[in-house]
Amino acid sequence: MSTLSREESKKRVWRVCGILALVTIVEIAAALIHYNYMEDSPKTFLNILFIILSAGKAYYIMSEFMHLKYELKPMVISVLAPFLFLIWGVIAFLWEGKYWLSMKQFWDVLN
């Protein structure tokens, strides 16, 4: 357990709950505004925003709820380091998917 007092840690939990709820509301609101008022505009900027906000939620869940922030640094590194592979995975496979699409279009075998 951290050095926080009982009352402090209680308060912190509810604060993090508020942050997660707020971020979720912002995400939903952004998605609905885009859907209702600007459906024809590209979603690229919005998707980048969603990725950043989701990473923020993941940070709060791992650091506060899963208590990772209060563990020793080597522990934190051993948990987080493997996730570096996922950054490669996401980029490589999205790239690959785009290539499949261009091949399908080239050979005119779409759908």
């Binding site: 709820a21 998605a31 998707n47 791992m62 522990m75 785009k98």
Partner: protein, 221 residues
Amino acid sequence: MSTTNAKELWSGGDSPFKVSYGKIMMWYFLISDTFTFAGLLISYGAIRSSQPKHDETNPLSWPDPNHVFNAGPGFHHAPLVFVTFMTFTLILSSVTMVRAVQEGHYMNRAGVLKWMALTILGGLVFVLSQAWEWTHLIHEGMTPSSNPFGAYSFGALFFLITGFHGFHVSVGVLLNSWAFIQTYRGVFDRRGHYEMIEKLGLYWHFVDLVWVYVFLAFYLF
């Protein structure tokens, strides 16, 4: 570090991270589970980017989540409302889980029971909501091999990934219920610590964490 100290460290019984064996193993299990989920979500990304983007005129393009997920029990034409409710349920049940872990640190059995009960309730509400959503989508004609909203692989990936997540939630509800009974019987009080609640807490928050990304992939993008 003196030689005696080093010898003690190498003789076992000490964790290099000052985290108990059980909690470290739960963390490492969760890392491996992250890779399972990441494998599924990355496949989703690869298949999705190999399909044409959403386009009203092309019935086989990737569907718009606002069209697919626009109903809840008793209401229609309200995009993303029901999934927002589900997301909040999961966040709240994560919060009650943290409170259970905190009360466990102070050996407050009544507190653990109260917050665990709320966590189990939140998990059940989430699983039942998902069951409702699945039933609704199947009635609309979306199955692993067909999808009236667009590319059929959307249906296959949706049921595979939300199903795998829902399976995790269900397992979490069962484990939490078991821990609730153990707490009620005073097992952890006799043991002198509530570490089991902490380990289940890690698992439960992980389920919430995965939902952040399932939500991102299926409902927001």
